[in-house]
Symmetry: C2
Subunit: 221 residues, 2 copies
């Protein structure tokens, strides 16, 4: 299938859009990128994702694929030439899918709760909940460079939310050393992950994301 027919509708500050960009680059797929304005969604976004009206949407030869985890499966199945995003063994694949889902259903909402928390008590509770999930990830990573083993895989890509978005939110609320102090394995993984050239060139600049998060949460920290 021709790479020239690949288009991504995304948003620069969305960890979900960035997952798809990282996967396409890992596979060496050329693509056109269209930045969406979520306050004024494009007719293309509304046409191709009428159910959720959300980014990312991948268009391949005009056919839309929606939802970042679904798109990552599609990319791995469609472009076999690059490195595999999913492990070969069915049991390891299941574990990776489980953790990717866990990232979206548990970890990401908690990050947003920390950012949006009002007052000390609410913030403490949000951090406590997030901490419980971080323990799971810390144990999962122990003894490995990446969630995917020696190379970046599905869980690493979905964990964009931890590697940058959580870090920025923690900085915003004034506890930027939480990971370094309490989760040294995750902290080391973040360094390894951000050191990857594709990840580094794809994720937003930290200061830009920090400014964005401050504006979203109307926070003056």
């Amino acid at each position: 299938m021709g790479d020239q027919e690949v288009k991504l509708l995304g948003v620069w500050a969305s960890p979900f859009s960035k997952r798809v960009e990282i996967a396409l680059k890992m596979k060496g797929v050329s693509y056109e990128y269209a930045e969406e304005d979520l306050s004024n969604k494009s007719p293309e976004l509304l046409k191709y994702n009428p159910v959720h009206k959300k980014v990312p949407v991948l268009l391949h030869s005009g056919r839309p694929i929606c939802e970042s985890l679904v798109i990552l499966e599609y990319i791995d199945e469609t472009w076999k030439s690059g490195p595999s995003i999913f492990p070969e063994d069915p049991c390891a694949r299941a574990r990776a899918r489980f953790l990717a889902k866990f990232m979206d259903e548990k970890c990401y909402p908690d990050i947003w709760k920390i950012g949006g928390s009002k007052g000390e008590e609410e913030r403490e509770k949000a951090i406590e909940e997030a901490t419980e999930h971080l323990v799971t990830l810390e144990n999962e990573l122990r003894g490995k460079k990446f969630f995917g083993g020696d190379e970046i895989g599905l869980v690493d890509i979905t964990a964009n939310t931890i590697a940058l978005w959580l870090v920025v939110v923690l900085e915003m609320v004034g506890i930027k050393f939480l990971l370094k102090d309490k989760f040294p394995v995750i902290d080391e993984w973040i360094n390894n992950y951000l050191d990857n050239s594709i990840v580094r060139e794809t994720l937003p600049v930290r200061q830009d994301l920090l400014a964005y998060c401050r504006s979203v949460f109307q926070c003056s920290n």
Copy 2:
């Protein structure tokens, strides 16, 4: 891999457990079944699904797989002999995964909202939201016998929630003809789906589920 080493931790009234049972039977996999008491979870459940502590859990040669959609992927990848649960074409696979996710994230919570709604206004709102999602499914099914085409596939199996749980909840709240009146395509699909011998022998008896839902929602309808 030996079929004799397959065990499922489930709950009879859970549409998620029933998905896994249907898939295992479709593939002709023999398995041991252990009914869980969610008010007194077994040490096995807590050991093998420490993150969510929920059913279903599939144990294969002692290795646990959690989350029903992840388990369905695992079953299809592991037992190749039976009919495929997922479509062959990557684009069709992506659509099936999208709809399965949609079923869990949008449709199922709405069914529970209808069941748990207090008063006329709250119920009307819940039904209105569910109706919007049912329109999506009605359009998806038009011209097809099953979501999977001529045969049952991933989306049909995940749509247990529609075929029985929604039907029972609608009966419980006194609007059992909603589907027949407004969603004839879904209504016909339900008949076709429940007519499948594996589905029929696997899903709970309707009256039992109705009694269960009434007790859960403490509803005297």
